[in-house]
Subunit: 320 residues, 2 copies
Amino acid sequence: MIEAAADRFSAVGRITPLLSSPFLDEIAGRRVFVKAEVLQHTGSFKFRGAWSAISALAPETRAKGVLAFSSGNHAQGIARAAQLHGVPATIIMPKDAPALKIANTRALGAEVVLYDRKGGEDRNVIGERLRRERGLTLIKPFDEPQVIAGQGTCGLEIAAQATELGITQASVLTCCGGGGLTAGIALALEAKAPAMVVRPVEPEGFDDAARSLASGEIRRNTGPEAGFCDAILTPAPGEITFPIMQRLCGAGIVVSEAQTRKAMREAFLRLKIVLEPGGAVALAAALFHGDKLDHDAVIATASGGNVDAALFAQVLGEGA
Amino acid sequence: MIEAAADRFSAVGRITPLLSSPFLDEIAGRRVFVKAEVLQHTGSFKFRGAWSAISALAPETRAKGVLAFSSGNHAQGIARAAQLHGVPATIIMPKDAPALKIANTRALGAEVVLYDRKGGEDRNVIGERLRRERGLTLIKPFDEPQVIAGQGTCGLEIAAQATELGITQASVLTCCGGGGLTAGIALALEAKAPAMVVRPVEPEGFDDAARSLASGEIRRNTGPEAGFCDAILTPAPGEITFPIMQRLCGAGIVVSEAQTRKAMREAFLRLKIVLEPGGAVALAAALFHGDKLDHDAVIATASGGNVDAALFAQVLGEGA
């Protein structure tokens, strides 16, 4: 399925580069490579899964339109993939999602329906009504085989690019929300680079994947719903993604907000790329959690760059 | 020479991606592609020319070390290329160059010798003394055939990437200082994509290339030496680069500081890359000078990203 997704993706997708800098190697004490998914269409890896799922639909189903729930990056991925297919997209987003993500989703041609997650509105009720009324197909953000296959195309690229650099053994760090990217990459590497070990990375307070992997069953986050790393604050790993992660991944790694902010600054300074908080946790782990890594080479996904300018400017200012 | 440089470059260099965004297309009213040289090693295209020149030296000459004058990006390119070759680099830089560029050049293993350009010190006298004392080889920043050939490798990539997208006719906008990148790309496209036209772009007050092309002979800038776009404030086109530009390039384009700052913000928002001022002028021309362009597609070089965090944060703040 991943290779079929890669075939469908090749006409429109970008092969994102694997970046490095001697300055990052020095901080980490090992070779660090960054898979720059911020350079993917719509600024995150989510376009891969969105394209995979929408391109796999039967044409008559696709023509009626697609529906998604998303705090942002999945929304933009779905909106753009639908736009390129010429079909309508309806996106249900929380009212408090970053302004840039809401605006971008609309500008990419989607109809955005906002709901008040703090006020207790149930997005599932809203979504189910829209789905039935309009005959839409729901594209889930991660617990959906075609989405996982699409994210897996990132893993195929990592395997090919690492092989070209002569690297077969590495810790592969993923920014982990519901586990779509993590599971997809793990499946691809199982086939193409079996000596690499995927390690999901999460922010403090939202370490559901790490706790689930440690305990052997799905654990939910119990703290607040919102936080700095908005893109990856999923309540729990998925029912499809978790068994894949359990079979293939090493232990999860948890990073602090301060480490995440430092990683954003280092990516700006050394790689010239823009990371959003949720897209910076894997690099934060690569730079500041070397004691938990087993390999001389580490590959970190930089999974998204859709950050408001004001926040990014603030984070840059902290480095002075 | 360009193809030989590309052969030598292939072991270490990055093929930088050609990025795009529907948001940029909308601003420009045409298809916009950005050649993201900020993702090259050391954050600018200068590594190409530096690698080309140093790798072309005879081993015994190279072993004695190289010397460069540079306000920054050429310095970092030379420092890193020398470091990777295991040979010493001495870099003469103005005291008022951006702090980040001076620090990076040192951290890449080069010896940095600072001079006071405002106080009337002559860098050529300092350089000639060091060159003789140490047996160094001077690598000029642009008026040097092997450097031009190295920058030309960027043009070979543009031709190949555009062809893959089905684009054969385009305006190719270059961020132009002394003309090394401009001449190199123009030579590569003459051979590989002859229906593309290179247009050098400069900031207001430093439009020596535009005036030289218009008049048919080399014109110098007569205003201040320093300015916002520090990377490309060369006093005049080179004696080798200018005849190449004259034979192959279309008219120069001049952009304002405000347009350059807007281009930096758009690249942050839409492409997730970091542009320094001098690396943003070509995108500024693509976005805001469409009336001067002859093609439905425009390819802009984003030539460097070595900008201090404080300045970048300030530029981001202006978009609020």
